[in-house]
Symmetry: C2
Subunit: 234 residues, 2 copies
DNA sequence: CGGAGGTTTGACCACACTCAAGCTGCGTGG
DNA sequence: CCACGCAGCTTGAGTGTGGTCAAACCTCCG
């Protein structure tokens, strides 16, 4: 609530970066900072008048559950990402923290007002929405017609990329933000298949595992090759 | 170029519907009406500075081709829909007419200008973009973890819906706008599997086929049931 | 009438799913 | 501090759905 913008790690990349200092301050007085622990839910599918938010740190998942109870992960959200269905009266999806996370939240109303007041903000959100659409399409492409090893390789590279601060090069060693089951749900596979792929990749020397979530990418080449054609989502 | 808006069949549903009569006329002088024959390409992946367009009539597909040459259909576009990656210097996807189609096209520049001049237009496009994101996610959900019969049933119902003018009830009898191969590419199946599903559905009495693209939905119940949980794209 | 693109159908096969058992790592409580 | 328990992970064996390959059939058009 106090002006956290000054030290905000995503101040240059988030949607609000297009606003002037004064405008941003005005906007922030309408919003709240919120902290989530791993596993905590931000929005629940079916909720009425959900808010929206910019992710400051951590990783979120956007998912839906079919009536037979299994979850489908539709997207990941990384810092500077924006979540919230601003024009929907009811939320369509669950949004849950995969890691401890911090966000900057706004009510639908406040956001609508801000959009009307600052056209440049609408512009920025439009741009971001198109990017989200693009990454969703990439995931659609990936899950459509590829083998299990292609899917897992792509996801692994995408996660390595996301774990890195620099936008270009993936980090060599990192912690997976998700369980095997979540990776499976995201890729349209089963837990067992994902697990087997990891074992295979370790046996072939492409990766090394430390603990169950620690990953070191020893040789990216076979992964890149396996992921041919398209990298996984954001 | 002359004011076609007066008789435009999507004048109330397209993005430009939020503009005043005068504003709309101004915008249209920047744009061009364009007619496409079935199979004709609007944008080609990799093209520089592609335009964008509102679809007036017909059906388009948005797709990408992996380097091994097979196409993946990522979305369908129906009348009043908007296509074009306004912020991308190069097009990411192919956009091709599935049926004869008519569009209202604008250059990236003209569109950028219009967005700046008419904030309400940016707002409308943002809304539409979020809807596109939603339908893409529905398709992602569908193709993720469902059986072939669920996929084909869902697509069939979605196409019946789209073929109808009324937003609520699907039409009983219609022409498929796409080939078996295109349906397969969209659902992540093969031509043969799609074909087998159609045969099965006809044998069970749920549908009747006339010619190869004519479909009559005799009994929607088993289709709805098979499509459990989520309907296919737009 | 002939050809081509698209569709249907069949036989076979493989990849990923299912079911089942055992293991690892971690947190809790005695 | 160790024992226990539980959630998540790994590994194996067997099965089934949808893919592959191949041939025949429509149907539309020149």
């Amino acid at each position: 609530m106090s002006n956290a913008c000054a030290t905000c790690p995503v101040r240059d990349r988030a949607a609000c970066a297009v606003l002037s200092e004064a405008e941003r301050t005005t906007l922030v007085t309408a919003g709240h900072t919120r902290d989530l622990k791993r596993g905590e839910t931000l929005f629940h599918a079916g909720d009425e008048g959900t808010a929206c938010a910019t992710l400051v740190s951590g990783v979120l998942k956007i998912s839906s559950v079919s009536r037979d109870g299994d979850e489908r992960i539709l997207a990941l959200v990384h810092p500077a990402g924006f979540v919230g269905e601003m024009f929907q009266p009811f939320a369509n999806y669950d949004v849950v923290a995969l890691t401890d996370a911090r966000l900057c939240t706004f009510s639908q109303n406040d956001m609508e007002n801000a959009i009307s007041r600052y056209p440049v903000l609408a512009h920025a959100l439009l741009r971001r929405s198109q990017e989200d659409l693009h990454t969703t399409r990439q995931l659609l492409e990936l899950t459509g017609k590829n083998s299990a090893s292609e899917k897992v390789s792509s996801l692994l590279l995408a996660l390595a990329q996301a774990a890195s601060e620099s936008p270009c090069h993936p980090v060599r060693e990192f912690e997976l933000p998700m369980t095997r089951g979540e990776m499976a749900n995201m890729l349209g596979l089963t837990i067992e298949t994902v697990s087997r792929q990891f074992s295979k990749m370790e046996k072939s020397g492409a990766i090394r595992r430390s603990g169950v979530r620690g990953i070191e990418i020893v040789d990216p080449a076979p992964l890149r090759q396996a992921s041919e054609s398209s990298a996984a989502s954001d």
